[in-house]
């Protein structure tokens, strides 16, 4: 990853244009050619520096539901529980954190009722209580990380 890649990452975290030739617009802003920009984005996706290139949706606006959930998993069962939880296609991220509540995951579903079902199914399959912490208010979402 060189300086140009970093510029591309920083620029695209701010958004991508909706117009007929969006790569050309961004390439002009960065002093690159359109094909040069496209091939660099492709390489960054292939190497995994970029995990996605596309839209970030607002689950509730789409009629779906989203929550942050956590379980207290005994250390000995950790991998097994992670496997059960990650097998749900509705589970978007899952992080181990250094706390008694040691597994934290995001559940996103197409319809709100499915969220309740997923939580119940996880509780049944793991035998653990799921802490359900949907957002009440969002003060800030601007996850831009400088490359």
């Amino acid at each position: 990853m060189d300086e140009v890649d970093k510029q591309i990452i920083n620029h695209l975290q701010g958004g991508f244009p909706v117009c007929d030739s969006p790569y050309q617009v961004v390439a002009d802003q960065l002093g690159l050619t359109e094909t040069g920009l496209i091939s660099r984005i492709k390489a960054l996706l292939e190497s995994g520096v970029l995990s996605r290139f596309g839209p970030l949706y607002h689950a509730e606006q789409m009629g779906g539901a989203l929550t942050l959930a956590a379980v207290k998993t005994p250390e000995a069962e950790f991998d097994q529980v992670a496997e059960i939880i990650n097998a749900f296609p509705e589970v978007a991220h899952n992080y181990q954190r250094n706390h008694e509540l040691n597994m934290w995951f995001v559940i996103a579903t197409d319809v709100p009722e499915r969220l309740t079902e997923v939580i119940q199914e996880i509780e049944q399959q793991t035998g653990l209580s799921v802490y359900n912490m949907p957002k009440i208010n969002e003060y800030f979402v601007g996850l831009n990380l400088k490359a």
Binding site: I38, S51, P55, L56, A59, G64, L68, H93, E113, L145
Partner: protein
């Protein structure tokens, strides 16, 4: 409201924007829409907030952001909105939410994410935040992530309209 075509568009876009000169024309061709119609629909979806942002999602670990802290505070309910707004002004706070307390075992209601290159730096930033926002009186905990098992965007399917509530 979003219609069945919007849902198809949303489902298709989740696979990523095509890496070609006219990406929206390619998406349109798959859905039997003109490039112009795709552009119009996307603009409306952005305006409505269904699409929060179009762009890249970085793998923060690959960019060197290895210390990912979730900081949780127990703030008086009457002050959480004001403090949440204040905390969000700091550039190193990447996300900030109010969430429901979970009884005595987990009394926290304000969540802030701080992503940094190392733990020391994140803890310094947190100390600065606590000092600047007058949060010393509120109980807090810092949960660093140890391992990421799964990281991807949520997937949405284009459900037929009649199945939507």
């Amino acid at each position: 409201m979003i219609d069945a075509i919007d849902r198809q568009l949303i489902e298709l876009l989740q696979q990523g924007l095509p890496l070609v000169s006219r990406p929206y024309a390619v998406i349109g061709a798959t859905l039997n829409l003109s490039e112009n119609e795709v552009l119009q629909r996307l603009s409306v979806l952005k305006e409505m907030g269904v699409i929060k942002r179009l762009g890249v999602i970085v793998n923060h670990r690959r960019l060197g952001y290895k210390a990912n802290a979730m900081v949780v505070f127990d703030i008086a309910d009457s002050l959480v909105e004001q403090i949440g707004g204040h905390v969000s002004q700091f550039s190193f706070v990447n996300l900030c939410y109010q969430r429901p307390r979970q009884g005595e075992q987990w009394p926290y209601n304000l969540y802030c994410m701080i992503h940094g290159k190392n733990r020391e730096k994140v803890l310094q930033q947190l100390a600065h935040l606590i000092e600047s926002c007058g949060l010393r009186q509120y109980h807090h905990e810092v949960l660093f992530s140890k391992q990421c098992f799964k990281q991807r965007g949520a997937l949405y399917q284009a459900l037929p309209e009649q199945e939507k509530v």
